[in-house]
Amino acid sequence: MSDIFGTMSAAQIHQGLASKEFSAAEMTDAILSGIDAADKSIHAFLQVTPDLAHEAAQKIDQAIASGDFESMGPLAGVPCAYKDNMNLRDTHTTCASKMLENYVSPFTATCVQDTLDAGCIPVGKTNMDEFAFGSTTESSVFGPTKNPWDQTRVPGGSSGGSAAAVAAGMVPVALGSDTGGSIRQPAGFCGVVGVKPTYGVVSRYGVVAFGSSLDQVGPFARNVHDAAEMLNAIQGRDPKDCTSQQSAKDFTANLDEGVKGMKVGVVPAFMESEGLAPEVKNAIEAAAKHLEDAGAELVEIELPNAKAAISAYYVLGPCEAFSNLARFDSVRYGYCDEGHKTLAEQYEASRAKGFGAEAKRRIMLGSYLLSANEYHNYYYPAQQIRTLITQDYQRAFEKVDVILGPVSPCTAFKLGEITDPATMYLFDMFTVPVNISGNGGMSVPLGLGKDSSMPVGAQLICPAFGDENMFRVAAELERCYGSNTVAPDFASAAQANASAGANASADGSASAAVSADDQKGGTR
């Protein structure tokens, strides 16, 4: 029965446990064997944690038996995977780097603990670009993750493992982190929902830092409601992260309200961007049209400084990364190249061998940009640009409730297709400004692109700490484009099983693969 769980939403699994249709132990076994089977080809996981999963499942089954389950929240019993830059006590946290290959966490990240406290079942740690530097998951020292929709293509990155695990039905939900698009872009490439909340909504404590002022943790799910429940669980002020803010919202509250009366901003300059694939452009325009048909008002807005965001990002990101990665020096933990005469030599050799090319590129860049001679030429102006971009968004959100646009200029490309770093950096042009300003953004599936037959994502951007706005609009898009889509190679068996047994496909949502253009036609 393993595959039925692969197509079930988090809510359905929780419901199934509540109504005792299956036990947490059965479900967990099935999920673990599902991961076993699917991950042979996808390689979404760097580590599966059956012991922790069984232990958590046992607690859930005890709670069901004692009647305590009903008082547990909606995530109780829901299997969850975590990006491998998140600490989970007594498991490895590798950041997909040789540097931390054998590192075992002595503590648990707040966001991970929040999900455990909510009753989630931890099934493992997912693949990523090394230290989250990348957009394809190809820089993982343990090898790339494949896109479940087409295994010759990348899943996006850096949270590619989490996105692929959700898209392939291995888990209903997962956590990722987003510094310049690392949740939204892989969500878009893999056809799932991915949320980067407003900076400060979720604690960063225990998540290995890349760019501290840019990083934000968020959920992946196959539907908007599950993603909202996940954010409900991980939001809020954490005394251990002084950049986190008070937040106690119910992001599921307005999902059924529709978008009537909402003002949705569109940025004409974005839609005319060089390099924006026609299939993506068409899909976004169709989505905008749909929202208009559903009662929203489309408002053209300008973000005049957004074009400088990539430049600012590739100053601020490397500067912070340079400093954050300085601690990986081979002395207390991590990879150590032994046998050197001096400490300096040991540092140099360990870091030269322990870090991959992209990590070293960013460390060197940050080291240069922060040097006394260059600080005022780069870091300082980048912070000024940051202020301007933040003001752009503030002005825009005086006029609109949410901004709609592309996540990426194209759909998932082939593994190994893009090797030039500067070209790769440009693929983040729509996601990076949101990290620079700190606003929230999320990726919502719009079905498949007409030309590539790969998933296209729409990006919704919200006012700072107005994350509920984008959930509301996302729910509307979901009503049009469908939810709970599992990549076809992994959905077919599940569907067969699902229709044969259990009540997994109650809402028939596993029906996958609707073309974005078809949908556009459909709404007219």
Partner: protein, 513 residues
């Protein structure tokens, strides 16, 4: 080598200080909840934050912010409401993150000052006498404070096999991270001190204030208070600063004074020869009383400072600052002023009574005793001179604890005042109090120490001494009046030290005429 006095004639030293003070009274470290305690077994007060484990984040200790604002207010600083922490990058194992969290150009406290009074004879180091000179030979000078900032301390490293635990020649190093991340204040003065004595007095006064605030034990011995001193020379009458050298990690007031004095002499010799002073960091070795160059880096360090993105900028409210201001205790200067005004003490006595909170507390307890008001001057002497001497002579003596109570101290000086015992005997009685834990009156009685003031008894002794020493008497009468001391000594010897010195003195003068 040229003397300090000669060096100072031609050259004016310009001295600046950097003082580090650990906030030892705080329970937890600067950015984590680990115990703020160095004495424990190595590497026991540690956690993911102060060990720089991946994913750990700092969260500032609010009590430390209170402490530094308190210090700023007590040292006449402007409190900077909008400030932030920076990361200072350097690869060294004493900072697990390989950067230190410290502050940038804007610190919590800016633009303060302390007014120092330098007493004679130390005042004589100053060749150009400042205008504000007192009758007692002291002078007062105004020293600017550039800033006081907050940072985290580094771990303690011991280099095994190296001389004095230093790195040269060491086979390996061991690290204790208990100290890593403990709260540290750094105060930077303006370069406005001009004698080693002024530098010493600045540090002493800063210590007095911080002790009064109760935020650090300020132990130079244990390193909870440390100083770096910068000094350069310029020809008197010129403005342009010379090349400075820096003395690092000085761990006593005396070493600060002596190290700077040596540097002034060393630099003066170089300049007198027409050579140039090398800008470098030097180490003062108290055993040789010399400074030696420390290992110098080939290039100036680039710390790649930038605002720490993990720590939100501060926006201190007026309410918070007022709340801290309300916590300010009476500071040493204010106390000294009150002592002069209320009890008529001299400026010197008042200043010396407020140097150490233990002495201050004891003195104030004494003043609450009956009749203490009229004994204030001898009480001050007792505490400033005799008790200090007692502290040097008697091991484990701590003022305010044990047999010497304020009651006994007042009664002791009262006996001197009533001429029951001599001032010389007073010190003896003081020692007996500590040894025997008895009241002074009992001690005097039991030891038969009562002072002889009776003129007829004294007169007999004086007569005998005069009769026994005809040559000396002749010499005295011939003008060698300095011999009076000899006669006093002889009389006291005969009286076993119990003669009333004032009465004896008078009698001797009379009878030798």
């Amino acid at each position: 080598m040229i003397s300090l006095e000669d060096a100072m004639k031609e050259w004016e030293p310009v001295i600046g200080l950097e003082c580090h003070i650990e906030l030892t009274s705080l329970d937890s470290k600067m950015f984590c909840s680990c115990k703020n305690e160095h004495g424990d077994a190595p590497n026991t007060n540690v956690c993911p934050v102060c060990l720089g484990m991946p994913g750990a984040l700092p969260s500032p200790n609010k009590e430390a912010i209170k402490d530094i604002v308190l210090t700023g207010l007590a040292t006449n600083c402007d409190i900077e409401k909008h400030t932030m922490f920076y990361r200072k990058g350097y690869m060294y194992p004493d900072m697990a993150k390989n950067f230190q969290i410290t502050q940038g150009p804007k610190a919590f406290c800016m633009r303060g000052h302390l007014d120092l009074t330098i007493d004679a004879p130390a005042a004589n180091e100053r060749v150009d006498i400042p205008e504000a000179q007192g009758k007692d030979g002291s002078y007062t000078t105004h020293i600017g404070i550039h800033l006081i900032h907050l940072e985290e301390d580094a771990a303690k490293m011991v280099h095994v096999g190296g001389r004095e635990g230093r790195i040269e020649g060491a086979t390996h190093s061991i690290i204790d991270y208990n100290r890593a991340g403990t709260p540290l204040m750094e105060l930077v003065t303006e370069p406005e001190m001009h004698t080693p004595e002024e530098a010493r007095r600045f540090m002493e006064k800063l210590r007095e204030i911080v002790l009064a605030l109760g935020i650090s034990d300020c132990s130079m011995e244990n390193g909870s208070m440390r100083a770096d001193g910068n000094v350069s020379l310029r020809r008197r009458g010129t403005e342009k600063l010379g090349t400075k050298t820096e003395l690092k990690n000085i761990n006593s007031f005396k070493n600060l004074h002596d190290g700077l004095a040596f540097e002034i002499r060393r630099q003066a010799e170089i300049l007198n020869e027409g050579a140039t002073v090398l800008q470098e960091t030097r180490h003062y070795d108290p055993s040789t009383k010399h400074t030696i160059p420390m290992r110098t880096k080939e290039t100036a360090a680039d710390y790649r400072m930038f605002p720490d993105p993990d720590l939100a900028p501060f926006d201190l409210s007026d309410e918070f600052i007022d709340e801290v201001r309300a916590m300010l205790p009476e500071l040493p200067d204010q106390k000294a002023e009150r002592y002069q005004k209320d009890w008529g003490l001299s400026s010197y006595d008042a200043r010396n009574l407020v140097k150490d909170p233990t002495i201050t507390a004891f003195f104030e307890a004494c003043m609450k005793q009956k009749d203490a008001q009229k004994l204030v001057k001898p009480l001050a002497n007792l505490l400033i001179n005799d008790v200090a001497q007692l502290g040097n002579e008697v091991e484990d003596f701590t003022l305010g604890e044990g047999p010497l109570t304020p009651e006994r101290a007042v009664s002791l000086v009262g006996m001197v005042d009533a001429q029951d015992i001599s001032t010389k005997q007073m010190y003896e009685v003081l020692k007996f109090i500590v040894d025997e834990d008895k009241d002074p009156a009992t001690i005097v009685k039991e030891h038969g120490m009562k002072q002889v003031s009776d003129t007829s008894a004294l007169g007999a002794v004086v007569d005998k001494v005069i009769a026994d020493n005809p040559d000396k008497v002749a010499a005295y009468k011939g003008g060698k009046t300095g011999l009076l001391g000899f006669f006093m000594g002889q009389c006291m010897k005969a009286l076993k030290g119990q003669g009333n010195p004032r009465a004896l003195n008078e009698l001797l003068r009379q009878k030798l005429q």
